[in-house]
Symmetry: C2
Subunit: 247 residues, 2 copies
């Protein structure tokens, strides 16, 4: 059971200001929580779950002790920040702020004004698939700890380091790093040699990259269009570029 005050506290974590105040966020869903319990970068403090989930967890001898509260499906619906409530919700600690320190041979995503939490989460999952260790988000991006970001990241939030900082400030600090900007009028990605090291700049869902940040690009790159769609989803475009240039 949860007290009224606890329910209110959990519900408050839907909003960024309360996440920041408490330093906590929510991760929902079996797969996401399972992934977070397997890593130790993000601390899972407590889970709220159906009794079946808790039984299953405790039955697995490999699992370490976990502070858990058995709750009803109805209560999960009340505390869930998602449209479809999941059998388990984890209360997690927001990790300490990171700095961007690209190592030789590493690629970085830099995201400018990505507003949709689902897109941001999908980008975190793509970074994790392609072994990109850090993502720098401009301060007006969706929040990395928004419940929808966490859900779309499918647990990759525990493996990819998220940095919120002005992209131009970061790029000024690393003047010699190659910077690839995804635009609609750059060089065809089929003519760009694969690389391991560098920054991939991805812009806002409808406006793309700003003039200000394009000044830092060493190369503008474009996915050639065969059909008629005006653009691609930002996360899909990032995935396609990684699939051609980081493999």
């Amino acid at each position: 059971m949860l007290s009224k005050a606890q329910i209110k506290y959990i519900q408050s974590l839907r909003l960024k200001k309360y996440r920041q105040k408490s330093g906590r966020f929510l991760a929902e869903g079996i797969k996401v929580v399972d992934e977070l319990l397997k890593q130790d970068y993000i601390t899972v403090e407590e889970v709220y779950a159906l009794p079946e989930w808790i039984d299953q967890y405790n039955r697995d001898a490999q699992h370490t002790a976990l502070s858990s509260v058995a709750v009803s499906a109805e209560l999960l619906t009340r505390i869930s920040a998602l449209h479809t409530a999941q059998p388990v919700i984890a209360l997690c600690r927001i990790p300490p702020a990171e700095i961007w320190d690209p190592k030789p041979g590493q690629a970085t995503f830099m995201l400018e004004s990505i507003r949709d939490p689902g897109n941001l989460g999908t980008l975190i999952r793509i970074a994790d698939w392609f072994g990109i260790p850090q993502i720098v988000c401009s301060p007006d991006c969706a929040d990395a700890f928004n419940p929808r970001t966490i859900q779309a990241s499918m647990g990759s939030i525990g493996r990819v380091r998220m940095i919120e900082r002005s992209l131009s400030a970061c790029l000024k600090d690393q003047p010699s790093i190659p910077v690839y900007a995804a635009t609609l009028q750059g060089k065809d990605i089929r003519e760009i040699p694969p690389f391991k090291e560098g920054v991939l700049l991805i812009g806002n869902e409808s406006k793309g990259l700003s003039e200000e940040i394009l000044k830092f690009a060493t190369r503008q790159i474009t996915i050639p269009r065969v059909g008629k769609a005006e653009s691609l989803n930002a996360a899909v475009a990032a995935g396609i570029i990684c699939g051609r240039l980081l493999l």
Copy 2:
């Protein structure tokens, strides 16, 4: 203004059964409606929009006459099926059912049990970008005319033909077409020669492709993983494969 009965009718179109009964669906948002007004495969019967949107539309001399109803922001919120109401909602006619008739040199997406309308819409947009003219959806996929599918398709629903049919029935009809199945244990996509003609099979978000449908695959293909994510989003995976094999 809209009557109570009209409001109820529009709201009913959130559900597939009422869309099927009436043969109508809703398209929301400036970009999506704009794209639909530029094509003639899908008929836009009427739009409900803020007066500013209608004024702007009428001011453009290139635009043809359009049946429109000026409504308040508050009413748009009531009739919208999305979480964030848009300045314009179009009432559209569901086009007649299509059959799958792949032409030489054309690729087709075949989607098995893609459940998320957002993923389906993103796949329609990817198909449109890469010039894929038809998508076959298994009957348990999300509905192509779900408001969230339409929104994520960004108007590409007016250019890509959607077919709902058993995938195995379709593939039995075309025994000589190459069938590429996206799985986690296939051949590395870097070793597959690009192709123009064939079927790309994409499976359910968590379960992937069924054994039944994998029997039809002439080749299983896999995006190599560099990092640690367990999988990629289905639409992102399709995009990456198109980016390597259809370009």
